[in-house]
């Protein structure tokens, strides 16, 4: 066996310029490989594939939608370092979403790809919590939303590492250290702004009042979550409430913010984000997210 054909240089672009085989990529970074290439994992015994797929969509859509909101801050962040931080957080969440949506397509047997789920579903078919849907008026409101979301998601995925579904367990294992960085970042900013100037404190207080009605429903289990939690595959979100409350209390105290008393935002006949009932903001977000895919169906580059 000869190694004579291997390139002598260490140019990472080498393979792109030397390939002779069919390769769909026309430039560095284009073409997306299957993020679960070669990962095998049957649906665990006693679990309905549709349930597992629905649960993957819940966790995947949370990440996909919030990642999109974070991406909207590119070129708008207050400083370059913060822009890089928001981009990093958005990229981590997008990566988690890709793995979860891909897993959904295997679990329900439809073999749909991550792109099929992201670009071909209609609004009511998305399963994210409504907390991640809104566009924030300022950076302070954004980091507050990020703090609440990453605290909740970290608590859920930390427990999900023990899932009986090996793929969910593995995805959670990768995501937990990423989310730990996200939460630390958001907490530090909430404290700086809450315990900052009178103006920043006032804005953080307003942001807290705006987001508060969306927090409680994070801990309300959808029937799919309840069924899968009983099978040891999912995490019942009610279980993480004490931990989330404790972390948020610590941060708010340091930030001299007090959590307001508020009424939860009502759903429609008790149906909320996990059942496909979303806020108005999500329709606008989705229109933009899907605009290219809908204008040029099936297009590749």
């Amino acid at each position: 066996m000869t190694t004579g054909g291997a390139p002598a240089d260490d140019n990472p672009y080498h393979s792109l310029t030397q390939e002779t085989d069919p390769d769909p990529r026309w430039a560095f970074g284009t073409g997306f490989s299957d993020p679960l290439a070669g990962v095998t994992g049957a649906v665990p015994d006693g679990v309905a594939g549709e349930d597992l797929a629905a649960y993957c969509l819940m966790l995947g859509d949370d990440a996909l939608v919030f990642s999109h909101r974070l991406q909207e801050w590119m070129t708008r962040a207050p400083e370059l370092e913060e822009e890089a931080a928001l981009a990093n957080v958005a990229l981590d969440l997008l990566g988690q979403a890709r793995l979860l949506l891909q897993r959904a397509g295997r679990a329900d047997g439809s073999d749909r790809s991550e792109d099929d789920y992201a670009f071909d579903r209609r609004e009511h078919e998305f399963r994210q919590v409504r907390l991640v849907e809104g566009a924030d008026p300022d950076f302070g409101a954004l980091v507050l939303r990020l703090l609440i979301f990453s605290t909740f998601r970290l608590a859920v995925l930390d427990r999900l590492r023990g899932s009986h579904d090996p793929v969910l367990s593995a995805i959670a294992g990768k995501a937990v250290p990423e989310l730990t960085y996200h939460r630390d970042y958001a907490a530090a900013w909430v404290i700086r702004l809450g315990d900052g100037t009178p103006l920043s404190h006032r804005r953080m207080t307003e942001a807290l009042a705006t987001i508060c009605p969306l927090v409680l429903q994070l801990f309300t289990a959808h029937p799919v979550e309840t069924r899968l939690a009983a099978a040891g595959v999912a995490v019942d979100p009610a279980e993480v409430r004490a931990e989330v409350d404790s972390v948020l209390r610590t941060v708010f105290e340091a930030a001299t913010l007090s959590a307001p008393v508020c009424q939860p935002l009502p759903g429609v006949v008790c149906r909320v984000g996990r059942s496909g009932v979303h806020t108005e903001a999500f329709g606008h977000l989705l229109a933009e997210l899907q605009s290219v895919a809908r204008a040029y169906p099936g297009a590749t580059w």
Binding site: A6, N11, G29, L91, L99
Partner: protein, 174 residues
């Protein structure tokens, strides 16, 4: 089209070739140095199977690394290579080899410290304030500060040395 692998010497050769693939974002180190290359094995039909693990969930370099591994192996005579993603156990910066850490430092990038794991079954503690900064790869001073935990790529943070005043990248502990 695939070429059956004849013997273990071939697998060793293939592993060396795959291990030499540079990381697209940190080209001074290879995927062997970083611990991204998990295994090179042969399947029941005696074809090569290369197992890779992503550093971060959203690592945009995985597609490039896949293509580079397959391309280099093909040019070395190994056709029909299968590349598998391995997600568990999740990649940790602790898997960067001592040689990899040396190469990073020589290129002006601080290698990661060992990761301290929180005890299982307990909530992950909140870290308020930035973590302890790394040793400056330029002047060796430990009087450094973290500018941002998020840098130009997923796996790096941005630090600054108070002694020589230079900023430097730092591969994050994860």
């Amino acid at each position: 089209m695939s070429t059956p692998v004849a013997n273990t010497a071939d697998v060793t050769a293939a592993r060396r070739i795959a291990g030499q693939v540079p990381d697209p974002e940190l080209p001074m180190v290879t995927i062997g140095d970083l611990g991204i290359l998990r295994a090179v094995t042969v399947d029941e039909r005696r074809r090569l199977v290369v197992s890779l693990t992503p550093t971060y969930s959203g690592c945009p370099a995985m597609a490039e690394i896949f293509a580079d591994v397959v391309g280099r192996l093909r040019r070395a005579g190994f056709a029909g290579v299968t590349v598998r993603t391995v997600l568990q156990p999740a990649w940790s910066s602790d898997w960067i080899t001592a040689g990899g850490a040396r190469k990073l430092r020589a290129a002006g990038i601080a290698p990661p410290a060992r990761v301290t794991r929180h005890p299982a079954g307990q909530p992950i503690p909140l870290t308020l304030g930035l973590r302890r900064a790394a040793q400056c790869p330029r002047c060796g001073s430990t009087d450094t500060t973290v500018v941002s935990n998020f840098g130009a790529t997923s796996c790096t943070a941005l630090d600054r040395c108070r002694a020589c005043l230079e900023p430097f990248e730092h591969v994050k502990e994860i």
